[in-house]
Amino acid sequence: MEVLKLPEVYCFWRLHQNLVFGLLLVGFFVAGKVHAVEKEYAVKAAFLFNLSQFVEWPEAEVRKAGDVFIIGIWGEDPFGGVLEALVEGQRIHGRPVEVRHLTELKEVGKCQILFVVGTEPRGLELIAAEAVEHGVLTVGEDAFAQHLGMVGLVRSGNNVDLEINLTEARRAGLTMSSRLLRLARLVPAEQTE
């Protein structure tokens, strides 16, 4: 075994370990403010963008949709611009991405992904019916996937979990990759109220 030769700097360090440690602790108490960002929704926006890679839309819908991949938001926009920034200049399945804020039910059918804001969105049955008919992937929050939604981004403790209602997704003609399904909690359809 070779003998370790200590450089002089290190000798100083060893002798004054406690002092250095104390100095670091002093620097500790400098006050300051940090502006917090809504992390939860930044993560959910990233999910929306990422999920699309693992989902296949039915052929007919892809042809009808044409050149643009549309992510629709139903409800008051919680993303604060993060979603638009995330998709800017990006392509999903080869198509440029657009974010739309929806106000009417008939716009639902034009989207490929629909994000439904909030814990108890109104008109869920109608939205779900539109989504199934036009092959739209619906993503929501909390118990969304347990009530007619396809994908739920659920905050649990300090993280966001993924819930997938495969039955609903299949009804809309969507296929999900096994890699995605393995990571998600699958919600059985029987649990919907």
Partner: protein, 642 residues
């Protein structure tokens, strides 16, 4: 005279720095650097696996794991375990960078990190779901009794370096956290079984369901029989092991802010010992915790557990132990800059020990109490760039004085996808029951040849570490850690002219230094590579008066390499794990390179058939000591999920 060499690490208080519920979902996969939420480029680069791990509640703008980035950490995921075909926890640990797993007998492993591995190695704190797994008798882990359904392991976190306040444990060289899946992630029924050479036969079944709208449960049972070690000449001494275990877990959400868990296991195992009667081990544990979230990111957590076991090794010793532990932790976000965590822990462990032969303890029954408190603050120094974590744990046990173990860690996000970190920590290894109460007597006489001593002090460590994590491209990430450990007051057996017999003293010192490098490469859609290399150098010394009897502790390789390749093609999966461990100096064990292969067929998510080969290169090879060698084994496994 057989003297149990090796570390008698006693980390009575395990401090999971951020508490189990926090850790449950917040530690990143190995190599995940801190990211800036406002930097969408970074957000885009994250995979779904990484998004699921992000903590959305911490104080700063950064998406950092709650448990803290500034440490050398490797996470073995559930997928790693499944793809490598690891059938027990020691086998899974071989996949982590910098962990030396050495099999020395049919039911004996030496597992350590950053050196000082030995037959009773313990400078590493090991926990399963917050429950400490070692015996305070000699602070070692009985790996033969630590089992669970491998499919129910969520991940295994391996932290190299002093755990202390950051990761909680009074752990000198490292911490291993085995975390099982939440019950809601193990719903439905799973059945698996198989057999072959070495893994003679095994079967397990697990069922998970709901017992109310927000209550999930699972119950499982497993049994196996194994015989995979041989004598150095290749003959089979028939030291087959039989093991059965059953357990349950219930998770509940009284409300989104109030989570709780109750879990327990019972196991019974026995194995043949050449030339002796059969050995047996049986144990029970029960654990419960409750956590409450309030405000914005604050939480507190309360846990209690009981762990009892009965080990009987005819010809060596018998130990019966009952342990009770209570733990409380509180996390508070102060202002926008401080993320404070503090906690208290109390543990009581009573034992009844009987040794045969020259080595023993006196008294043979003892109850040890351990108390500790810790405080830690993560403080943002420069918004979005630099943060400092400082804290300390204060520990008192029946066999030691008050020990203080501070740690300071700095994390610097140099640019998107690149993080540097550094840490200075003091860690202490408190005396164990064996060191305090040791009696080594000449057989048949009352003469004590080597007494334990209440004067035996804690061993000390000052550790200096630094690391660099980077995401080189969206497909490649790398994680480098370097360390320098300065040990003092290490246990020695010393003789001197003044003393009539040798005594246990703290006259040893040592320095270790090295590096650990992990590189992950997602080559393309269907091929992934994970590699890990570690390098270790060690120098040991002895400070007088007197002379040392015997050698310093630990028998460690200079190099450890592990590489895991995962291929997907159609319904098939093909995995290869290459493992290389360098020469062990003394007692000398030659270097070895081994290969594990797994070929699996998964026609649908419900069914999997796998053919697994382990240690395929040599028909048998030694890993530690010269009594037993690990034999090549090939077996098949079928798994149904429904």
């Amino acid at each position: 005279m057989r003297f149990p060499d090796g570390r008698f690490f006693r980390g009575f208080v395990r401090r999971l720095a951020w508490g189990l519920p926090f850790l449950l979902a917040t530690v990143p996969l190995s190599g995940l650097p801190d990211i800036d939420y406002s930097d969408v480029r970074e957000l885009r680069m994250l995979s779904i696996e990484e998004l699921l791990q992000l903590d959305v509640m911490t104080v700063s703008r950064r998406a950092e794991p709650l448990s803290g980035a500034p440490s050398a950490i490797h996470v073995i995921t559930a997928e790693d375990i499944r793809r490598a075909g690891a059938s027990d926890i020691p086998e899974a640990l071989r996949l982590a960078t910098g962990v030396h797993v050495a099999r020395s007998g049919s039911a004996e492993w030496s597992i350590s990190t950053r050196g000082f591995n030995s037959a009773l190695s313990n400078r590493v704190q090991v926990l399963m779901d917050g429950r400490s797994l070692y015996s305070p008798l000699f602070s070692g882990v009985f790996w033969d009794a630590q089992d669970t359904l491998m499919e129910d392991i969520e991940r295994i976190e391996v932290i190299r370096g002093p755990g202390a306040t950051m990761w909680g444990a009074n752990a000198v060289n490292g911490v291993i956290n085995i975390i099982t899946k939440e019950a809601r992630d193990t719903q439905g029924t799973l059945m698996s079984g198989g057999g072959g050479s070495g893994e003679d036969a095994f079967a397990s079944v697990r069922h998970g369901g709901q017992a109310g709208e927000r209550v999930w449960y699972r119950v499982y049972a497993k049994a196996w029989e194994r015989n995979d070690t041989v004598l150095p000449d290749g003959t089979d001494p028939d030291e087959r092991r039989l093991f059965g275990q059953t357990g349950f877990r219930v998770d509940g959400e009284a409300s989104p802010e109030n989570l709780w868990t109750v879990q327990g296991d019972f196991y019974d195992g026995r194995w043949n010992q050449a030339g002796q009667d059969q050995a047996s081990v049986t144990g029970t544990n029960l654990l419960g915790w409750w956590s409450h979230y309030y405000g914005e990111g604050n939480s507190f957590w309360f846990q209690a557990y009981y762990d009892g076991y009965d080990r009987d090794l005819p010809g060596a010793y018998a130990e019966r132990r009952n342990t009770g532990d209570i733990d409380f932790q509180h996390r508070i976000l102060l202002g926008d800059r401080h993320d404070v965590l503090w906690g208290v822990n109390a543990r009581v462990s009573g034992d009844d020990v009987n040794f045969e032969g020259a080595v023993g303890v006196s008294p043979e029954q003892r109850t040890i109490q351990m108390y500790s408190a810790f405080l830690q603050d993560r403080f943002v120094l420069v918004e979005d760039r630099l943060d400092l974590t400082a804290g300390s744990i204060f520990e008192y046990t029946t066999l030691s004085e008050l020990e203080v173990q501070p740690s300071v860690r700095l994390s610097w996000r140099a640019s998107p996808g690149q993080t540097f970190w550094g840490a200075v920590s003091r860690a202490v290894r408190t005396p164990t029951r064996l060191e305090s109460d040791l009696v080594v007597a000449a057989p048949g006489t009352p003469d004590v040849l080597l007494p334990g001593s209440f004067d035996f002090e804690s061993e000390k460590l000052w550790a200096y570490e630094a690391g660099y994590r980077t995401r080189l491209t969206s497909a490649v990430s790398a994680d480098l850690a370097v360390f320098y450990h300065d040990y003092s007051e290490l246990r020695t057996i010393a003789v001197s002219p003044e003393r009539t017999r040798p005594v246990l003293t703290n006259q040893g010192n040592a320095e270790t230094y090295g590096l650990e490098l992990s590189v992950n490469y997602q080559v393309n859609e269907w091929w992934r590579l994970k590699t890990g290399y570690s390098h270790l150098r060690k120098r040991e010394g002895f400070t007088g008066p007197g002379t040392q009897l015997g050698e310093g502790e630990g028998n460690d390789p200079e190099h450890i390499f592990v590489g895991h390749s995962s291929l997907d093609f159609g319904e098939f999966e093909f995995d290869a794990v290459v493992r290389h461990v360098g020469v062990l100096p003394s007692p000398r064990v030659p270097a070895y390179t081994e290969l594990d292969l797994r070929l699996a067929w998964r026609p649908n998510p419900e069914f999997e058939a796998a053919l697994i080969g382990r240690d395929l290169i040599d028909s048998h090879h030694p890993e530690y000591g010269n009594l037993r060698e690990v034999a090549r084994s090939i077996y098949g496994k079928l798994t149904w999920r429904f």
